[in-house]
């Protein structure tokens, strides 16, 4: 057991498990997050994402296993961990009656920043998060996007080297989401390590260096977005046939090229392949020989949606029925 503060990992999780009574929220999870990278924790509601974050941010204790942040064990030395992390949860946890500036000042004081630096730091954060004009208005007058920016600013006032974002863009409109992604990108460029949970696949794709897909409290896949996509075929060839009979014939004829699926209407076929150009030429040649003429034929890059669907059997955002522990009613959409 030697110090690994100098190691490359900002977060290390080993055999982590958490049960609430009879309900197992996390079964057995292990992963590492190298310093200065972004890990996307992807999974349906109730998969165990929030529970994992709550353990890592010292809010709850694990039932089994170990977790450390910057080499510090989260259950043995929670106070030291809290000094080094920032957390922005699913709600904008700002005091509505305080102004934006007062909210940030409060967090700066509670994170024990040197008194003479607080005003400067607060001003800097207001500027960076584009809240200068609204700084002295009570935050209850803010829009959803502004609140979320204030919340993120509050999580960053004390310059934490490790940042936890639990579904940071839930409930935001597309332009606010995109703004927030830009900000997170900047933080990472400045060296912050980020763990972000999301059930938005585009978010995981856009933000993360590595992605872990969890379901029912276990990791079902991990890798970069590209790795995950190529595992199931980097390219999807989409065919629409005239009728169901033809679709069936096409699938049988094309079975040698790669795994394919017929959608629920029975007339469209999705073929997952690794080498798109070669496969497309093969498809055309085979169909021609079989005398099948598709109504429509197209090629697209596979998305994380495809990955998610094939790993969990569900589309992202669907709930899997295991309640994720939270004291707060109406937790998620």
């Amino acid at each position: 057991m030697q110090s690994d503060d100098s190691s490359n990992n900002a977060i290390v999780v080993e055999g982590l498990g958490k049960s609430f009574g009879d309900v197992t929220a996390i079964e057995d999870i292990s992963f590492e997050v190298p310093r200065g990278t972004v890990l996307g924790l992807l999974g349906p509601n109730g998969a165990g994402k929030t529970t994992t974050v709550r353990i890592l941010t010292t809010l709850i204790k694990a039932t089994r296993g170990h977790a450390s942040v910057l080499g510090i064990d989260v259950s043995q030395n929670p106070q030291a961990v809290r000094e080094r992390i920032g957390l922005a949860g699913q709600y904008a946890a700002v005091d509505e009656n305080l102004t934006g500036r007062e909210n940030l000042r409060l967090i700066a004081r509670l994170t024990h920043q040197p008194k003479n630096t607080i005003e400067g730091r607060v001003g800097e954060m207001l500027e960076r998060f584009d809240l200068v004009a609204a700084a002295d208005r009570p935050s209850r007058t803010y829009s959803g996007g502004m609140r979320r920016r204030l919340d993120l600013a509050a999580a960053l006032v004390h310059r934490p080297p490790v940042l936890f974002l639990d579904e940071p863009t839930t409930g935001l409109d597309p332009s606010s989401r995109s703004d927030l992604w830009d900000i997170i990108g900047e933080l990472v460029r400045d060296g912050t390590t980020v763990l972000v949970t999301t059930h938005y696949l585009d978010e995981a794709d856009r933000l993360s260096d590595n992605i872990i897909v969890i379901d029912h409290g276990n990791i079902v896949a991990q890798g970069t977005a590209d790795e995950l996509k190529s595992r199931l075929g980097a390219v999807v060839i989409e065919l629409t046939l005239a009728d169901q009979a033809q679709a069936g014939r096409a699938r049988d004829a094309l079975a040698a090229i790669g795994p394919s699926e017929i959608d629920t209407h029975g007339k469209s076929l999705e073929l997952k392949v690794t080498n798109g150009t070669q496969a497309l030429m093969d498809v055309v040649r085979i169909l021609d020989k079989e005398n099948i003429t598709p109504v429509d034929l197209g090629v697209r890059e596979s998305t994380l949606d495809d990955v998610f669907l094939s790993l969990t059997g569900r589309k992202a955002g669907e709930t899997n029925g295991t309640p994720e522990s939270s004291p707060i009613a109406g937790e998620k959409a």
Partner: protein, 267 residues
């Protein structure tokens, strides 16, 4: 393999200094709410004033107390009742903070585990100073008179504030346990009603059945009330005051640790 990184423990002096400065910061935050939402302060001030006026003029004529005026008997009862009911605000405020995710944020910060609750109860303490001052003003206007030395009366008010402070810790626990404002209020009320109405607040306990007197004469609200009443209209005070102070510290010794424990472990 993760290995624990050696983290220097925070020196105790530093720890105490942080607890104090965190508590001040949270107290200030809670007091700002009263400035931002003056209606909150206005409405929580109207209720005690209405009670003073109602008991004075509606029931005052029909109730007679031995050896004195009803208003002098009544006023300490109104004071104590207001402080007791006001303690419910603590439960409601903390339940709101919990629901909005603010407590979760506070718990993820390297701040003192006691400061969120201490900041809440101290802000309530400050609010009580205002409310008690207001009731004294209204009380004097409708004929309430102090029959003891001013400083004796003021020490009665101080005892009242101490009692209110002790109770807010009990309701801090209630608020954290219930988790939403409505439930917190609903859970608090029955307890309050038994403490306030089955007491010597509004009528002398001699009119109650014997089995009830056993409760009303010894429960903390009555004990405090009798002490405050003695400090304002005279009579033997020492044992009443000591019993009341003992109750206050007894409540604090139990309620403070369990409230902080609830805050730390709230899932």
């Amino acid at each position: 393999m993760t290995a624990p990184v050696t983290v220097k423990p925070t020196p105790i002096i530093q720890h105490i200094a942080w607890t104090i400065s965190d508590t001040i910061a949270v107290t200030k935050r809670n007091l700002i709410t009263y400035v931002r939402l003056p209606q909150l302060l206005v409405f929580s001030s109207i209720q005690p004033v209405i009670f003073v006026l109602m008991f004075r003029y509606v029931f005052g004529g029909a109730i007679s107390v031995p050896g004195g005026s009803y208003v002098d008997f009544l006023m300490p009862g109104i004071f104590v009742q207001t402080v007791v009911f006001g303690a419910m605000n603590t439960a409601v405020g903390l339940a709101e903070d919990l629901r909005k995710g603010l407590l979760e944020r506070f718990r993820s910060l390297p701040m003192s585990r006691a400061a969120v609750l201490a900041g809440r109860t101290l802000a309530e303490f400050v609010r009580n100073i205002w409310v008690v001052a207001l009731m004294c003003g209204v009380g004097f206007a409708v004929g309430f008179r102090v029959h003891t030395d001013p400083w004796v009366f003021v020490s009665g008010l101080a005892l009242l504030l101490l009692f209110g402070f002790a109770l807010t810790w009990v309701f801090a626990f209630v608020g954290l346990s219930t988790g939403n404002a409505e439930t917190a209020q609903a859970a608090s009320f029955p307890v309050m009603a038994v403490l306030v109405f089955a007491s010597s607040a509004f009528v002398p306990t001699e009119s109650m059945p014997g089995w009830l007197q056993g409760w009303t004469n010894n429960q903390p609200v009555s004990v405090t009330l009798d002490a405050v009443r003695a400090l304002s209209i005279g009579g033997p005070t020492a044992s009443k005051v000591l019993t009341s102070v003992a109750w206050c510290f007894g409540i604090l010794v139990v309620a403070v640790p369990i409230a902080i424990w609830r805050y730390r472990t709230k899932v």
